[in-house]
């Protein structure tokens, strides 16, 4: 080369390099000082793309934001959970290119104490599909598609930092951009797959029952995690196995998830994602998504009913003093029990049922059964069948009652045990029934002459039906006497899911029927019973009197509900009934004339004063006039608790025998009353004779659904519930602790 050229070479080369650098720089920064990568102290965020066949209509074209988190930091899913914000993206694209929604990979549940969020840790790629319309015309001389993203995210560890960034990227129009192919493939693998069956969600009380079918065979029988896409709906911090349950029935997955008490939405459908809790490495897909329709009635905002706030405050104080975790589990939301505690509850129900046999309201029915066994002492086979029929009657009627209670609970009614005897009509009907039975036992009439032959033969051929029905009767009468075990078991049953609650009722029935079941199967017991003889007739006459005693009690209950007029009317009608029944036991003309006359009189009496039975007594008659026992109200308890006075609340009802027993013995004892005065205890009485919803709610808050309940509220402590049969010593011991 000659010297002239050599002298020009260097500057020429320099100019070429500079020019090329400038060109390259100009190409790399089309709009502004943005790059595809942003690094903050907490994340490294990068805009990536996947275009294996370049940019053309119908070809796959994906962009996405890849976030690499620092250890312990996380960003959020489309439903962030109890707090946090999902990552947001805004795209700037040339006309003809449209960006879809983020195709969220399945998240992780991130518990934060008693709260929970849904999000991502480590590295996550949030892919977004781009659609190229046929009208897309790239700019002249452009060889790439410029993509601009403005993204904002909330990254948290314990503290939260909102961050945002602007990213740009060029996707070559021809050629292939597959540098991040692996990352995109991993994101696609982590996407929830759609299910052909949309599933169903039902609102049941305070919970959602989720039912999904059509999950693939690889997923069946395995634990799943549950992610709702709608926020502010469920209690996100619910722990699997404790607060929410799941189960498989063949190919159908069901779950019971608690609602958030402060939920903000009542949607008609719930898009949700379920994911394998323990996926095997490389398992694809490991999550599925449906948009399930929701049916059922949402629990409405509760009317301004009383809740036991001092108990709550006291329980909170106790919890914080003990330093234990606050359960946060609502009462009375259904909360299934784990194996051991449920077994204990069942054992309690069994023993409670057994003890119920001893209660004064069951005893008369007991008496009838004794008679039955005595009559069939030699008939072992008959014994066994009778025992089974009776047990069947008891268990089935308790299950029916339990099912009715659960149905009413689902319908949101305020209900508690013993509801049958809160209705005067039911009390009157029971009184009539027992009167008839008493008259039959006393020999005033015989069933044989009342019923036509066909029915008689039916009875003879089907004595089992009688046993079954006497089982039903035992349950109907036993209900208001809550023995200690029954009280706790029932309070528990209200909070359990339907299946467990029904099982509890069934076991209770088994306990009630157990003595007769055993007597039927163990011949020794049957043999221990006396042989039939003339004494049986005496016994039969004798057993009429417990029947009449029960009638007297029922009339008294009605008197409490409907006043003296109602009780009087019932008595008059019972007299008419007795006369009627005797008249129909006569024969021939006497029957016609006397029977007709008595029937007419009965109708007249019923028309005249029968209405008194169902009319409610004036409130003054029902409330206690005793100055010592003040009427209970939620506000009063709160007021007294704020003043620092201990409060003793007697939850009672007129039809509850145990309550009356305690009222007349321990609670009227002058020594006990003196102790109340000495400790400045204020005594309140909550009368539940007429199904007061405020009292029902207060009972539920104490974990009970029946009466009696005796609660001693001590300032600064959780309310102490005494035993159902009060004892002086127990009460003194509790008061001594004040």
């Amino acid at each position: 080369m000659n010297t002239f050229a050599r002298r020009l070479l260097a500057p020429f080369l320099f100019l070429m390099t500079a020019g090329y650098a400038a060109l390259a720089l100009a190409q790399a920064l089309p709009g502004g000082p943005a790059q595809p990568v942003l690094t903050t102290p907490h994340v490294r965020a990068e805009l990536v793309a996947y275009a294996p066949q370049g940019v053309a209509p119908g070809q796959p074209l994906w962009v996405g934001l890849q976030i690499q988190h620092q250890p312990e930091w996380h960003t959020y899913w489309k439903n962030a959970g109890d707090s946090g914000l999902p990552t947001e993206m805004h795209w700037t694209l040339p006309p003809g290119i449209d960006a879809g929604d983020i195709d969220w990979p399945v998240p992780h549940k991130i518990p934060v104490g008693s709260l929970a969020n849904y999000g991502y840790e480590g590295t996550v790629l949030l892919p977004v599909p781009l659609t190229v319309s046929p009208d897309y015309r790239p700019a002249p001389l452009a060889r790439s598609l410029p993509v601009r993203l403005q993204a904002s995210w909330l990254v948290c560890r314990l503290e939260c930092i909102p961050e945002e960034g602007t990213f740009t990227l060029d996707i070559p129009l021809n050629g292939s951009l597959a540098l991040s192919a692996d990352a995109f493939q991993a994101a696609f693998d982590a996407r929830p797959a759609p299910l052909p069956d949309a599933g169903a969600v039902t609102v049941e009380g305070d919970r959602l029952q989720v039912r999904l079918g059509g999950l693939p065979a690889e997923a069946q029988g395995r634990m799943l995690e549950f992610f709702p896409e709608t926020g502010e709906l469920i209690r996100n911090a619910a722990v699997s196995g404790r607060d929410w349950t799941q189960s498989w029935q063949g190919a159908t997955w069901t779950a019971s998830v608690p609602l958030d008490p402060q939920r903000a939405v009542s949607p008609s459908s719930l898009p949700l994602v379920v994911a394998l809790a323990e996926p095997r490495t490389g398992e694809v897909p490991r999550a599925w998504r449906v948009d399930a329709p929701i049916s059922g009635t949402w629990p409405g905002p509760a009317a301004a009913r009383a809740q036991v706030s001092p108990a709550l405050q006291a329980a909170l104080a106790e919890n914080s003093a003990a330093g234990g975790p606050v359960a946060g589990a609502p009462v009375p939301t259904t909360m299934p029990l784990a194996g051991a505690s449920f077994a204990l509850a069942l054992a309690g129900a069994l023993i409670g049922g057994l003890l119920l046999n001893l209660m004064p309201c069951v005893f008369p029915v007991l008496a009838i059964k004794v008679l039955g066994i005595a009559r069939q002492a030699q008939d072992h086979h008959g014994h066994r069948r009778a025992a089974l029929a009776y047990s069947g009657g008891v268990v089935l009627s308790l299950l029916a009652l339990g099912a009715a209670m659960l149905a009413l609970r689902a319908a949101g009614a305020q209900l508690g045990w013993g509801f049958q005897l809160q209705s005067p009509a039911v009390v009157a009907a029971l009184a009539a029934l027992f009167t008839l039975i008493g008259l039959n036992l006393a020999g005033v009439f015989g069933v044989g002459r009342l019923a036509p032959d066909a029915v008689l033969n039916l009875q003879a051929r089907r004595p089992l039906v009688n046993d079954f029905l006497s089982g039903v009767l035992a349950v109907v009468v036993a209900s208001p006497c809550t023995a200690p075990f029954m009280g706790a078991s029932l309070g528990l049953a209200v909070t359990l899911p339907s299946a467990q609650a029904l099982l509890l009722f069934a076991v209770l029935g088994l306990g009630l029927a157990l003595p007769y079941l055993l007597a039927g199967f163990v011949p020794a017991l049957a043999r221990a019973l006396p042989r039939p003889g003339p004494w049986m007739e005496t016994l039969q006459r004798l057993l009429a009197f417990p029947m009449f005693a029960t009638v007297a009690w029922l009339v008294w209950v009605l008197g409490q509900q409907a006043g003296i007029d109602g009780a009087g009317a019932l008595l008059a009608l019972l007299v008419c009934l007795a006369a009627l029944v005797w008249a129909f036991s006569l024969a021939g003309r006497a029957r016609l004339i006397i029977g007709g006359a008595v029937a007419a009189i009965t109708l007249a009496v019923a028309g005249a004063i029968g209405g008194n039975i169902v009319r409610e007594a004036p409130a003054a008659a029902v409330a206690s006039a005793d100055a010592r026992w003040q009427p209970w109200s939620e506000g009063r308890v709160a007021e007294l608790a704020a003043q620092g006075r201990p409060v003793f609340v007697d939850f009672t009802a007129a039809w509850c025998v145990t309550c009356q027993y305690n009222k007349k013995t321990v609670l009227s004892d002058p020594e006990v009353l003196a102790e109340f005065d000495a400790k400045r205890v204020v005594t309140l009485r909550a009368d539940w004779t007429r199904r007061d919803p405020a009292i029902t709610a207060a009972l539920a808050a104490l974990g009970r659904s029946g009466v009696p309940v005796y609660a001693l509220h001590m300032p600064g402590q959780a309310p102490r519930i005494m035993s159902e049969i009060l004892s002086k010593n127990e009460l003194s011991a509790a008061l001594a602790r004040l």
Binding site: C156, P301, Q307, V331, R531, W535
Partner: protein, 238 residues
């Protein structure tokens, strides 16, 4: 069924014996022994109650749970002290960017001032645990509030998280409004746009202002339960 072989005397004596036995058996179930059974039963029954759950976050329309707490000046307050007035509970934590959004822009102090002019009691509650990095001592908390010109009735310190857990407070900020009868009428966010950007405040609906305006106008609160957004409350982990 009678065999017919027995004579009347045997039958009657066995009958009398069995009747007497029955009477004795019944007598055996005296009050005392029945009580003994019941007491034993109760002891076992009590263990069933032991496992029963504690309490729930109140729902809209339910009674707001009472609480007692000390404020930054060292004075004790109970919710029941303010019976008869509207009370706003604001969960706050100065270290949270969302709280900063509303205080640095002046939005929360303005909402507090508007509430105070109606005679509404405003309790700012900090449930951050002592071990948290952004835990503030009462004096520092009071100074921060004064600097931002906030005018709550009191700033309550709840480092054990008792009040927060009782109300189910999840985020900072999380707002609750209690009516003069002590019933919860609002629970949710301060406004309608969930973001950490101050510029979103002017376009968002301030739910607390709206709810108080409706309540004082005698109308029911239209948006009673809304999305609460923010950082999670830093509860004490147990």
């Amino acid at each position: 069924m009678e065999t017919g072989k027995k004579d009347m005397s045997t039958v009657s004596s066995s009958a009398t014996r069995s009747l007497r036995a029955a009477r004795r058996a019944r007598a055996a179930l005296t009050r005392a022994s029945r009580r003994a059974i019941m007491t034993a039963a109760v002891a076992l029954g009590a263990t069933l109650l032991a496992g029963s759950p504690a309490h729930a976050a109140p729902a809209i329309g339910q009674k707001a749970p009472d609480f007692v707490a000390t404020d930054t000046q060292g004075q004790q307050h109970r919710l029941s002290d303010f019976a008869g007035k509207f009370v706003v509970l604001e969960w706050t934590n100065p270290g949270c960017p969302f709280v900063q959004k509303h205080y640095d822009s002046g939005n929360m102090p303005a909402t507090q001032k508007a509430a105070a002019s109606r005679g509404v009691v405003w309790l700012a509650i900090n449930s951050t645990e002592r071990a948290a990095s952004d835990f503030m001592q009462p004096a520092a908390m009071a100074a921060w509030m004064q600097e931002r010109k906030g005018v709550p009735t009191a700033i309550l310190m709840d480092p054990d998280g008792t009040i927060g857990q009782a109300y189910g407070a999840r985020t900072t900020p999380h707002m609750y409004i209690i009516d003069p009868k002590g019933v919860l009428v609002y629970a949710g966010g301060i406004d309608s746009i969930a973001s950490a950007r101050q510029e979103d405040i002017k376009t968002a609906t301030n739910y607390v202002n709206q709810a108080l305006a409706e309540a004082f106008g005698g109308k029911p609160v239209s948006a009673a339960s809304t999305r609460a957004y923010g950082c999670s409350v830093k509860y004490k982990s147990s």
